[in-house]
Symmetry: C2
Subunit: 477 residues, 2 copies
Amino acid sequence: MSQAIEFLVPRESVLSRRAAIIADLADLLPPECLVHEPRGLAPFETDAFISYRRVPLAVALPRTTTQVAAVLKYCNRYDIPVVPRGAGTSLSGGAIPQEDAVVLCLSKMTRILEVDYANRAATLQAGVTNLSISEAVGIDGFFYAPDPSSQLACTIGGNIGMNSGGAHCLKYGVTTNNLLGVKLVLIDGTVIDLGGKHLDAAGYDLLGLVCGSEGQLGVVTEATVRLIAKPEGVRPVLFGFETCEEAGACVTDIIAAGIIPVAIEFMDKAAIEICEAFAKAGYPLDVGALLIVEVEGSEAEMDAMLASIVEIAGRHGVKTVRQCQSATEAALIWKGRKSAFGATGRIADYICMDGTVPLGKLSYVLNRTSEIVESFGLRVANVFHAGDGNMHPLILFNANDPIEAANAEAAGNEILKLCVEAGGCLTGEHGVGIEKRDLMRYQYSQADLAQQMEVRAAFDEKWLLNPSKVFPLDGRA
Amino acid sequence: MSQAIEFLVPRESVLSRRAAIIADLADLLPPECLVHEPRGLAPFETDAFISYRRVPLAVALPRTTTQVAAVLKYCNRYDIPVVPRGAGTSLSGGAIPQEDAVVLCLSKMTRILEVDYANRAATLQAGVTNLSISEAVGIDGFFYAPDPSSQLACTIGGNIGMNSGGAHCLKYGVTTNNLLGVKLVLIDGTVIDLGGKHLDAAGYDLLGLVCGSEGQLGVVTEATVRLIAKPEGVRPVLFGFETCEEAGACVTDIIAAGIIPVAIEFMDKAAIEICEAFAKAGYPLDVGALLIVEVEGSEAEMDAMLASIVEIAGRHGVKTVRQCQSATEAALIWKGRKSAFGATGRIADYICMDGTVPLGKLSYVLNRTSEIVESFGLRVANVFHAGDGNMHPLILFNANDPIEAANAEAAGNEILKLCVEAGGCLTGEHGVGIEKRDLMRYQYSQADLAQQMEVRAAFDEKWLLNPSKVFPLDGRA
């Protein structure tokens, strides 16, 4: 009995509870849909945030909504936390498990259930990857618009959980603007259908509420998304400036003129150098800031929009305007941009912030960001969705140096507070997850947070779904 | 004491409670912001639904968020129902009061607080009318996109409550797609800010949830909305067909080809005749169905899109294609369409349904709608947002004939059930209100409704805000 003193619960009880849960889950799922051996659990310890690792109790990999419902109903009955997971590409730790949790991973639910062009819609299981939607309908001239940099791997279920964005969301909106319906399994196993292929819906917009709720209100097993017809042509154009201020002011003036290109991406000198070294994208190296502006439509439309943009850029002292001469060059331009995080990872450890700011504050926030990071003795590279005001400063550091790691985290927090002070918010597309939960008090008043938690409790009274995310750990109502 | 037997509560108590509430409200509001005399209350008895009338206890007309908060806090403390109201243009009875309710009317809050082109946003008090937003920014080349037919009168607060749409929402989306933030007063008087001029927001999308919640989650006092740059040109074009089937199939094929005009409005023969007689819009009278397709952009863009649409219309036997020759003609075309309800009201009483259907079912639902209405011995005119699948059958009847009135309501219910069966929903833009509350069981399972009511209770535990709307009266959780 002396051993029992070391544990709040007798060790035998903990072990036998774990064994009992695994045995129970084995009754609910086929053998290939349940992982509980240490080697099998290892890939589920963390996600793309990687700052934390926890080995979960077990991983359920259901193939059907019925199986998802059975697992949730079981976990709800026995008060077992559940961490929903797609491909584990979360940059905010949204899919990192707790040790006492069952990970509910939707990655085996990969069927495209219906493509319906008359309603511009496709219905998919939650584990379908983002890119495979566009691949499935590309031959018919359609695509799915939100395009996170991880689109080769990330799933539509995860995109819904985090309300994911991407470079092309300036024109087409983020996930919530392209989501028509979901099948949602509640924590008690009830299955509800939200939205559909029709306009709007009677009653409350629970679909919009679920999108971006980080797996805390229920588990999405199917989604119906909007398809968009491919434009006649697309053309990314590079605009090089001496300074970030000029590039930032140019972005603000493009938007203020009412011009909405498909994308306006921003790279500072550090980001240009990192990406060019990796991707050989043909970026100019003699500039201090680069905008990738993509326009689309007919040749005439693209020419007209570009003429307006070139005129605005001229007012801000643009140094280089480079149109690509071929589809290969265009693909290279995007390859450089989309590999920014990977290319950065080759030269240093980094953390990527995701704050958003009103466009009028872009230059100010960029300047202050540099000052903040330098004050911690670190370097920063900025590569982000400028048209949306969605900043992504990458703070470079050496993860083997605990002081640098702590400084990077502190600098990141200062930057996010800066975004909030400037009238923006903590996250544009990566979600709160673990990373930003303690900063939520900085964004929201106690009344704001209390109301969000009331809504959460209306779906999951016992806080079993992804329990340690989004809200400050000490702040539960 | 014998009188008391007639009342659940002694009559004196009822009267004195009313007097006490009015006296208390008079302490919270300046004299010109409180209405309680019978003559003053009359305009607040009903809204554009007009099928029901109830004289409310009192009407509060606050000028500030602080006053709104004071009234709500007071009503919450003393369990007094509150019915929020904008301009009272609801077609579903969303603003009709109860006899024991205080109407909280935002119509004195009419200030435009900020116009910010750099962030494509305007911030307004809730009582600002829809059209006055576009009027305020029109001189600078911008507009606010959602355009209900009642836009001259209806307020942005009411638009948010009902998630209002309009003819031009095919391209630009409905209210929820154009809303960036609100100031929301909760039933206990707490003021929270949702959203803002930045992309997305950390935590749950309570902004999206509040939009379309019919005043049941809180009272919006300020709104920040998206501004859009006016296109270079716009051109409405008339397409006349022999039959509704041909016109419906043409709409489906336009959308399935990935073409998104600004608007695709549909009128059947009855609607054409009614509108033409009223507005002299120049509609062809020798066709069985008419589409108003509006394209926008440069001359070249409009030409290109129209060429594609004309080609598709040709495949469906289009009989007449008429481009307007002047801005005056264009304005007349829209005047005809937007006056459809008023023009119908000149020749008969009518009820207007608001169901939506997936586009592939448009022709089928139109046919069945005619059969249903004829089976009740009544006539129907169809005039609606076809590109969105948002039907508006107007069922014509004589309100002085109680049998016709009952038949009209019964036919309406059958039509809405038909929309749900076809994969659509009860309401596209008018809301549930009183009109469709009992049909909600037809759209939703008990689990669906229970979850919506849980969410409602998370904002307003005592069900004081607009209490008798949206949900079936016998269905409260």
